[in-house]
Symmetry: C2
Subunit: 218 residues, 2 copies
Amino acid sequence: MADLTEIDPISRTDRKRAAILDAATEIFLHQGYLGTSMDEVAAQAAVSKQTVYKQFASKEALFVAIVTSMTGAAGDVVQREIADMGELDDPEKQLLAYAERQLLVVLTPRLMQLRRLVIGEAGRFPELGRALQEGGPGRAVAGLSSALARWTDRGLLSIEDPQAAASHLNWLLMGEPVNRAMFLGDAAIPGPAALRRHAAEGIRVFFAAYGNRARQTP
Amino acid sequence: MADLTEIDPISRTDRKRAAILDAATEIFLHQGYLGTSMDEVAAQAAVSKQTVYKQFASKEALFVAIVTSMTGAAGDVVQREIADMGELDDPEKQLLAYAERQLLVVLTPRLMQLRRLVIGEAGRFPELGRALQEGGPGRAVAGLSSALARWTDRGLLSIEDPQAAASHLNWLLMGEPVNRAMFLGDAAIPGPAALRRHAAEGIRVFFAAYGNRARQTP
């Protein structure tokens, strides 16, 4: 049997990189940023410290890669659904499905742990906070905003400022459960039925304000 | 001149307690929870370590006292205004004033630093998170909920679930700016004019959904 390093050198590097990311994710989430050392990451990933530094120039770069990867994976799930949402009819039905999905994808213990960790370090390491802001709420609001603009173009909604409307919707949905989980821990994450009720209430408020039948004057 | 310790022993204790709280607040905000030692707090407050422990049984108890004191002071400002708000007429005008005040009081660098610090430690020290949840958003939503219920009793609003409505309003207002400040740092705190525009937009959405002229069916 041929040596894998010779027939497929790129995938061997990829596997090492994945092993480092997996090991580092567990250690960061359990021990915090300051409590994590590159030595421990190397040992846990069963690679040399040199290999770790070849892939990630610093502990900060490694953590940014983890934030990007974890928020990216969660965001991808939602964005796949949201990408062409503006082409579909019945915005209220589509947004309700989006809201339920978004709440279930984001409100997981791992993402809440990551979020606490990033916020705790955002003062010292602004790159970490920026990665989570852009890959998390920033991306969700941008995707929603595109869909709202497209529905407005198609005459199904009439929203003057899709970006502001998308932000209102995002925080109607995420504000309470995410912030409670930040302070009260993973046990405060609502179950699926409670999240669905919460989604329906947020969508009702949003359409009262932004639906075609909404009161138009402030 | 008489010795102050003899004529006013309670206020001397109070002054020491205040000096400890002041010193500890600065050290916690700048060095984080793990980076703060009771030795340093005692030195900075110019008291003995024994005195610190007489007032606060542990570092955790000291930090809970600081969270309670800082969120309490901010909350008091808002609660004084909100307490009898339901007795006043014109809910839309009252809530707009409340919204502006609440945003300006909460979105300060010190409260945002405290919030980051508490969230970062909430996994390890649930008491800290609970103190901030109860003294911060919990108290704001409870106060708002009372006012909404009173206005409903008086026929000025007709809100079936004041608690849910209060939470929607709170997160329409606080969601975006607070969470951006969590991730992007104190430089991301909007200025007063931007906060006033944001307050007006949130109040518009809230009254579209919950005002007496709102669409009543889901």
